[in-house]
Symmetry: C2
Subunit: 251 residues, 2 copies
């Protein structure tokens, strides 16, 4: 049987303000895009609108850079106030070299600039942080959606991250609710009888990446609906996508 | 306008033998799946069937493990002949610890086991290597498809790789033809007027990841067709996805 996946980019969401109800924001987009959620759908939401709704922005004019932030900023031509925010969001610095800061966040994620998004710094001089607990944010939206719809739709909150050894960034899942983020095929056999040894697929990351293809980087479509993927329901979280330290060769 | 992506999983390909013509293999699957390629489509092909068609397998019974392979195998409970094949495929060892070998291949890719796929080792004791030049493999299939169809369909050859700091594997692009693998948004403005500073999306990797969602790890569908993605045509390669050494903080 042919397996077909459909991915809808949701437009018409417009600016999201601090304190706005995320369910209303999503419903506005779904109406504008004439997409009705169905059982089996998965909702992918860029963290930017979650962080905005949760007022996770910092006005750089209120930030006093530390000596380290000042030195690093001067050396590499970075705004020392932005560097200061990155250092504050970091639980551990993994690499700090050639103007790049790769840090582990308090969530356990390892990413550039500890997830601080300065790409939208404009006249208002604000930077955007990751949600305090993206899994909790996903779960709140998942519960609100279930109450509104009468059925469950898993939620993935995404961000765009770079990778070691690979150029360019891809979307990954930083918050998950209502599904298992990993699909474990270990011990199963392929159609030719071969045993699959090392096949745990990070399907939540692949769903986030797939969603990015319809979102458009210019943020016209900060939400996507994936239809037709046979996900594994369950109380999964994006924390399951964090490599345990004992298996991490790149600390 | 709502943007919609469709991804079709192509089944009915069956076993691929060494020396088989890849275009015929793909056409067999498209017919069985009742999917007709259209202008605008992108074809994603798992490297396994490419490597099989190109006879890139090694019979372990012909492999004489070196002392290093024997020691490593004994220490970590690995088949020393498999370890030997990994060491031969490696141009540079990036990490060799806790039973894991992360190596740079002669293509420049950094991945576990230098891309040697032992997951399908069965009674016949063979392991599968990456294609010698996956960009060239993609280009040959792209040219053959164009000749057969009368229009161009970009080709992505994919493999499943682990990532530092993230659990699970995701599909990435190891061969590309007919499209740009990176979408560069730097210097453009989002709908709110904000300048995007650091947004080069690795869209070929995202397309590979999206395709995996319909492929199914058990290899029933080693090919996928992505319809509705506005790719950038051009002579792109997967080499463009390799991080240049001078920007690589994780050598």
């Amino acid at each position: 049987m042919t397996t077909t996946l459909q991915i809808f980019g949701i437009h018409g969401i417009g600016e999201v303000r601090a304190g706005e109800d995320l369910l209303s924001v999503i419903e506005r987009g779904l109406r504008a895009s004439a997409v009705q959620l169905q059982p089996g759908d998965i909702l992918v939401v860029t963290h930017k609108i979650v962080s905005k709704a949760e007022a996770r922005s910092i006005d750089l004019r209120t930030v006093e850079p530390s000596p380290l932030a000042q030195q690093w900023g001067a050396r590499w031509g970075k705004d020392p106030r932005q560097v200061e925010v990155v250092l504050r969001e970091a639980a551990r610095i993994v690499r700090m070299d050639r103007g790049l800061i790769i840090a582990q966040t308090h969530h356990g994620f390892v990413c550039a600039n500890a997830g601080v998004d300065a790409s939208n710094v404009g006249a208002d001089e604000t930077v955007l942080l990751l949600p305090i607990d993206p899994d909790a944010s996903a779960r709140r939206l998942y519960e609100a959606l279930r109450a509104a719809l009468g059925f469950a739709v898993p939620v993935i909150i995404s961000d765009s991250w770079g990778r070691p050894w690979r150029d360019g960034v891809t979307n990954v899942a930083i918050g998950v609710a209502g599904m298992q983020p990993l699909a474990d095929y270990r011990g199963r056999r392929d159609p030719y009888g071969y045993l699959l040894n090392a096949s745990v697929m990070a399907v939540a990351d692949e769903l986030a990446a797939a969603a990015e293809l319809v979102m458009g980087k210019l943020d016209q479509r900060p939400v996507a609906v994936v239809r037709g993927y046979a996900y594994q329901p369950g109380a999964g979280t994006a924390q399951q996508l964090v490599m345990p330290p004992e298996r991490d060769l790149f600390r």
